[in-house]
């Protein structure tokens, strides 16, 4: 076995923490695009972005489970974890920047770059990666190598984490896909496969699943069903919803990987059965109203507005709420898995506040403020990890 770039347990834990940062990095830009679309317009775009962002959140949980399984400790509510935008994907080859901005064709083009599939012969890249798939390939190779070392050469135990730290499905309601409890190489590889398949898809394939390819078109996706609490009464948790195969969306319908879903929006056309990455989407038209969005100012910062001003206070309030959400996830990933339920209610709060900011004029006569997703130090709790308890 060749020695891969990630070849110590410390390095593996560090890289899995990077993975957490990469997954999280995508969430604020996707949410800005999503929340810039006013209710009841561009429903198809709303449903695509919402389904993608929910899967990114699932990926965060899977990565946190992986990190806990290998004895690492997630760190989220920390300035180094929270990006300033515009920025490069963390630990990537830095070949393009990502901004916080409204739904637009250029935003979708950037999202496609984030999720772009690696070439079939692309090497694993643990650092300065060119695609997220290559990065995860490096993590997977590192895992395999270290497990091999452990089994054959009495190396350090890889899956030494406390199983009580795993987020299990009873804690995870209303999200996308299936939670994998990670305890060994097999479950770890399964989780990584799920992350990569949902994001970039498998090489050469548009759809995630091989079965029952159908022509998709307007009306087949039902945005309403993407709202978790409408579909599933709160508190009943998993149920049939989470039993769904992860390659299918919540309606059990075939769904292309993120890259191809964004491509459908970009091209304003659906993929249909028989289409390949080379043909591009050739299904029914998917018309979008690109101008029918809140004209959010790109990469808003609280410091753009005078301290104490109305807008500044709104932005500060938003950022505090966002930090409390990260605090909640921090607790959930570090020993209090039930906190994730509380974090979900903060996600709704973040949404309401973000949409408000989308509507508030920024004062330049043209744009609105928009959310800034910035780190702010905790107000009352210097520890920063128990704001929810």
């Amino acid at each position: 076995m060749n020695i891969p770039t990630i070849n110590t347990l410390d390095s593996l834990r560090r890289h899995v923490q990077y993975a957490l940062a990469v997954e999280h990095f995508t969430v604020p830009p996707y949410l800005c695009a999503l929340y810039s679309i006013p209710e009841d317009t561009n429903r198809e775009a709303t449903s695509v972005i919402q389904s993608v962002v929910m899967e990114e959140m699932l990926h965060m949980v899977l990565v946190a489970n992986l990190l806990n399984a290998i004895g690492g400790k997630a760190k989220l509510n920390h300035p180094s974890f929270i990006p300033t935008y515009p920025n490069y994907l963390p630990h990537s080859a830095r070949d393009f920047q990502v901004s916080l901005g409204k739904f637009s064709r250029s935003a979708i083009a950037t999202f496609m770059r984030i999720e772009r599939p690696e070439k079939t012969d692309a090497p694993p890249e643990g650092d300065y990666f060119h695609s997220i798939g290559q990065f995860y390939a490096a993590v997977r190779d590192g895992l395999k190598y270290l497990v091999d070392q452990e089994q054959k050469h009495g190396g350090e135990r890889v899956f030494s984490g406390d199983s009580a730290l795993q987020i299990t499905r009873e804690y995870y309601y209303g999200g996308a896909g299936v939670i994998t409890v990670i305890k060994d190489l097999e479950t770890a590889e399964h989780a990584i496969r799920e992350i990569v398949d949902q994001g970039e898809g498998r090489p050469g394939e548009v759809f995630n699943d091989d079965n029952d390819k159908e022509v998709r078109g307007p009306g087949m996706r039902q945005p309403d069903q993407l709202e978790p609490t409408r579909q599933e009464p709160a508190g009943t948790h998993a149920g049939g919803y989470l039993e769904a195969q992860h390659h299918k969306n919540f309606s059990g319908e075939e769904e292309p990987a993120h890259y191809y879903r964004f491509q459908e929006l970009f091209e304003e056309r659906y993929y249909q059965a028989g289409d390949t990455p080379e043909t591009g989407p050739r299904g029914p038209e998917l018309p979008l109203l690109w101008d029918n969005v809140y004209n959010m100012r790109s990469n808003s910062k609280a410091s753009d507005y005078a301290e104490g001003s109305q807008i500044r206070r709104k932005l500060d309030g938003f950022n505090h709420c966002y930090m409390r959400l990260l605090d909640g996830l921090q607790s959930a990933f570090c020993g209090k898995p039930a906190e994730i339920v509380r974090a979900v209610s903060l996600m709704y709060e973040v949404k309401e506040r973000a949409v408000e900011l989308m509507r508030i004029p920024s004062g330049d006569g043209d744009t609105t403020v928009g959310p800034s997703f910035e780190y702010v130090p905790p107000k009352r709790d210097p520890g920063g990890s128990q704001a929810l308890s």
Partner: protein, 164 residues
Amino acid sequence: METDRIDPLEDFVGLSAVLTGFETAELHGTGLVESHYKTILDILGERIFGRLLLTWRQIRESEANDVDFDVRKKILENSLLGPVARNILVLWYTGNWNQMPGEWRDQYGAAAGDRTRVVSAAAYRQGLVWRAVLAHPPAAKQPGFGSWTPPPEGADEIDDEWRQ
């Protein structure tokens, strides 16, 4: 924003802020500024609504020391404008338009659109009453499972204000 430009929407937001006690950014954040403006204009017509906004603009431009006092004096105590202003306040808080009082209708005209109703689903959902009591409009904004266990968002800030 240029100060000399006449912007009836901004006048409406400014007056609404004084009437409701919520800041203009907050009112913009509801997404209801334009639809409320249009609802009121449709019901009352340009003559009455315009008179209200003009009166407000005069108060604002007079740079009076006590805007609240002037609004009380020149708007709320005025027999034409007072009931209108109160209705606008109720509209912001509850999303309801209440039919103008009978006496007022007798004196200033009974418009066909002047019927008691919830003006829109959004107006109910974004009603200021929910913000004022730090609650969610029942069945309209999802607060998430278990959200009833912690104190409402912002409750700690109110405590701080009380302590001061």
